[in-house]
């Protein structure tokens, strides 16, 4: 019953994410080879001193591409979840605070969207609007919005009639001020915890879209793209092209999960293990 593991998962998660941010920044100015240019080495060279993670079919350096990929995978995940957090919790706060018809409209729409296979919906829309970083971000945040809205709604609803909300109203705050300035901040704990878990989900879906060739231009060094490019290699024994991007995804997604767990524990002391 000590707090140690909680602090540890938070610390490890933050450290790993910090490392990914650093990697993304470094890759902006330096990578061992040009990640986009083919033929910096021979095709399918196994890992060696010269190419630590080997080369792919086109002879590009896997390590360089992996580093550059951090920009895409981390960037897409972060922007998409922040967008979804902002829009989703705004909708949820409105539904939870004002109740009535607004609430019913928002809650019902949320329910309908949840019956959709989310990943499939993403594939469908990305296919329609075309590949591109911005499109992926918009679609992925769109899928997340219902969950944030539901969570924020429940949180705000449970606090709407608490004494401090009453007090804030009595001293003359407008209702939107009570909702957004007093109730929302108190609901941030569970929302942030979910944001972190959602970021893990978003990075997995990003990679999935990339793997299917629906996400970005196939030459983009996004990790899912890279795994797809190495897929044929796996069948002939050139495992490294697909293997290492998977590890990169594991690290980032795992860090988001660890952080989300720690935040959830902080937000709900009863969940303390």
């Amino acid at each position: 019953m000590t707090r140690a593991p909680l602090a540890w998962s938070m610390r490890i998660g933050l450290c790993i994410l910090g490392a990914y941010v650093a990697l993304a920044l470094i890759s902006l100015v330096w990578t061992p080879y040009d990640p986009l240019s083919p033929g910096v080495g021979d095709s399918f060279l196994p890992p060696s001193v010269e190419f630590p993670l080997g080369t792919d079919r086109l002879g590009s350096d896997v390590l360089s591409r992996l580093m550059a990929g951090t920009q895409y995978n981390l960037g897409i995940a972060l922007v998409a979840v922040i967008l979804a957090l902002v829009i989703g919790s705004a909708l949820g706060v409105v539904a939870g605070y004002y109740g009535g018809a607004t609430d019913i409209a928002i809650s019902r729409s949320v329910e309908i969207f949840q019956a959709f296979p989310g990943v499939l919906f993403a594939m469908l829309v990305v296919k329609a609007v075309g590949p591109g970083v911005l499109n992926i971000i918009l679609v992925l945040s769109f899928i997340g919005i219902p969950d944030y809205a539901r969570l924020a709604r429940a949180e705000v609803q449970s606090r709407r009639n608490w004494p401090y909300a009453e007090a804030a109203r009595m001293v003359g705050n407008r209702s939107w001020q009570v909702a957004f300035r007093h109730l929302l901040p108190n609901s941030m704990g569970p929302l942030l915890a979910f944001t972190s878990i959602n970021a893990a989900f978003v990075s997995l879906v990003t990679a999935s879209l990339g793997f299917l060739g629906l996400g970005l231009n196939p030459n983009t060094p996004e990790w899912g793209n890279m795994i797809a490019r190495g897929q044929d290699g796996v069948m002939t024994g050139e495992w490294w092209v697909s293997f290492f991007p998977g590890l990169a995804i594991l690290g980032m997604t795992g860090a988001f999960y660890l952080l989300g767990d720690a935040l959830a524990d902080l937000a709900d002391p009863r969940r303390r293990r």
């Binding site: 309908i112 329609a128 299917l212 594991l250």
Partner: protein, 336 residues
């Protein structure tokens, strides 16, 4: 109990209508112009207009919508451009493949995940707990398709223990005429045991991939809800009355802890039945997911609509089953 189930069914109707409507809108907005699929590139505007007329695309939107609703109600999703078959036939043909893989994989995942979660909960904050938590974290943080690729690399390419990712049967084996559509059941019914073994072997790697991916969240949720159950008053009573650990864990605590786990398995099942797109594409598995992917890639309008509605329907059915299981497990639900 029957009344409860009927109530849930009624509740599912507006959700289903919403799904159908959104599918319609999405398809019209994003589905591309189906005229292009019929019109040769050099077609004149006049020819295109004729095609649009024939496809009913020239009518006002609300008429298209109503016609579409009527079709959906009759389970008529139109003809797939790519298979030239009724979409509903296509889907019904492919459903058993997805169910066979999904049920095996999820079943395995639950069979391993639940005991693993119980084990972690009773060894809470000790080495086995940390191992299980680390292992399940990795299982959740890895993309399913990557797990599949690694399994193929290890067990097919390197070790050669299992066959390659070519679907439900080796290429040289002729698939039997479907009876139930479930390969293992059909081959058993036909008494073709040598093919049955081949089919089972084909199933192992994709099912294990799904099992690993589903085992991780199942074990985590089981652990969390077991931890809570083990701290409850009724477990304290059972301890005070002298029950042994095994009875406490597996009889008294687990049954209470199972409810959130069942919800989770429902969600996982909904996702798999709604198209394990990547899993099926990696293993060449001819199920709903692969069909959906082909429909997306080929802008197959009708197929896509049909699939999405089918998937949503399976989702609703899955949750209906979850509700029924809830009622079976938790007597308090029977009076809700």
């Amino acid at each position: 109990m029957i009344r409860l189930i009927l109530q849930r069914l009624l509740w599912a109707l507006p959700v289903a209508l919403g799904v159908v409507t959104i599918t319609f809108i999405t398809a019209r907005l994003f589905g591309g112009d189906p005229t292009e699929l019929f019109a040769p590139p050099e077609a004149t505007d006049e020819l295109r207009a004729q095609i649009r007329e024939r496809l009913g695309l020239a009518d006002p939107m609300w008429m298209q919508y109503l016609r579409y609703l009527a079709d959906v109600a009759r389970f008529d999703f139109g003809i797939s451009f790519s298979t030239n078959q009724a979409v509903s036939t296509d889907l019904t043909e492919r459903l058993p493949a997805t169910l066979e893989l999904g049920l095996t994989g999820l079943g395995l995942g639950a069979l391993i995940g639940i005991p693993l979660g119980v084990f972690a909960a009773v060894k809470r904050e000790r080495v086995p707990d940390f191992l299980v938590r680390g292992f399940t974290l990795a299982g959740m943080a890895l993309p399913q398709f990557w797990i599949g690729l690694v399994l193929i690399w290890i067990f097919f390419v390197t070790l050669g223990w299992f066959p390659g990712p070519v679907g439900r049967l080796p290429i040289e084996v002729r698939p039997p005429e479907p009876i139930t559509g479930f390969m293992l059941i059909d081959l058993a019914l036909l008494g073709d045991w040598s093919s049955w073994r081949l089919a089972l072997w084909q199933l192992v790697l994709p099912a294990v991939t799904l099992a690993i991916a589903s085992m991780a969240p199942i074990a985590r949720v089981t652990r969390a809800s077991m931890v809570e159950a083990l701290q409850s008053d009724y477990i304290r009573t059972a301890v005070a009355m002298g029950h042994g650990e095994r009875v406490l864990w597996f009889r008294y605590a687990l049954r209470n802890a199972l409810l959130p786990v069942i919800t989770l398995i429902g969600v996982l099942a909904g996702n798999v039945f709604g198209g394990a797109v990547l899993l099926e594409s990696i293993f060449g598995w001819p199920g709903l997911g692969q069909y959906a992917l082909q429909a997306i890639e080929g802008s197959d309008f009708a197929a896509l609509q049909g699939f999405v509605i089918y998937a949503a329907l399976l989702y609703v059915i899955t949750f209906l089953l979850v509700d029924v299981l809830y009622i079976v497990i938790d007597p308090r639900m029977r009076h809700a």
